[in-house]
């Protein structure tokens, strides 16, 4: 029987410094770590950051307090290391609050009720993403075309599922700024998916 069939068993083996457990963990978690690093730095630097992180993890694995999943903990360390490679600093964006995107604004009447209500999505579904390339490609084009600050926040929160507080720490932005950026990014992606649902085109 595989003795490393869950995170808890794997963690125990990692704490013992078991080489084969590390090999398994490298395969299981490095993808998420690489994706995390790539949000902040270029592809080749991201690979270096993941390597550095694993080397560091050998020494600090005993500090993992299991308050979150091992993947999340590893992603957070990776993000912090990637950030230290980041030359440019983040500026706080101008805050207009959580106002809605123009694409949404026109869909409400003066009283704030739907004039053009949303329709339930059928073709836009998780299954569709797994089965077909089109929606996935369309999504990646739209995510890539977001302004950098919106894209970074969206990738960290919704693709990598880092905690909001961690993202604010890593990017040095306030919680309110984070919410505005995430809000705008999500609204744009929503409108893209809705258009895909209605027209079948990107």
């Amino acid at each position: 029987m595989d003795s490393l069939n869950n995170d808890a068993d794997l963690l125990q083996a990692l704490l013992r410094g078991d080489d084969s457990a590390y090999r398994r963990a490298v395969r299981q978690f490095s993808g998420g770590m690489l994706a995390t690093a790539r949000v902040l730095v270029d592809a080749s630097t991201a690979e270096d950051v993941v390597q550095e992180t694993w080397v560091a993890v050998v020494d600090v694995i005993g500090q993992f307090e299991q308050r979150c999943a091992l993947q999340t903990w590893l992603n957070t360390i990776t993000a912090n290391r990637a950030k230290s490679r980041l030359r440019r600093s983040w500026r706080e964006v101008n805050l207009d609050g959580l106002e809605i995107e123009s694409g949404f604004a026109q869909r409400f009447d003066g009283a704030g009720s739907w004039k053009q209500p949303p329709v339930a999505w059928n073709s836009v579904s998780p299954d569709m993403v797994l089965q077909g390339e089109e929606l996935r490609q369309c999504l990646s084009i739209h995510v890539a075309s977001l302004p950098e600050n919106l894209r970074t926040v969206l990738l960290m929160r919704d693709l990598l599922q880092l905690e909001s507080g961690q993202i604010c720490n890593i990017l040095d932005i306030s919680a309110s700024n984070f919410r505005v950026l995430l809000h705008r990014a999500r609204q744009r992606i929503y409108l893209m998916m809705e258009n895909f649902e209605e027209t079948g085109e990107c």
Binding site: S30, G32, L34, A35, V50, L98, A120, W121, R136, R186
Partner: protein, 85 residues
Amino acid sequence: MLKCKEIVEQTGEYVDSEMVWQQRLAFRLHILMCGRCRGFVDNFKTMLVILHQSRNTELSPELIARLDRQVSKELQLAGKNADSR
């Protein structure tokens, strides 16, 4: 009573559970009674599932080999340090 437009503005905080209970209650009350906004929130949740699924976590065999090598080296070093203590 919240307006539909406010539901669109607040859905992110709702799905991220970043609302105080009064806000959450008001939000839930609205979507309970408003099918249009309920549809919006459902679509929004679908979007988040799709976004999470679309993360690219593919690793090249070269990178895996490099990570294995570095980790083994570090484990040996850590082992030696532990032995010498």
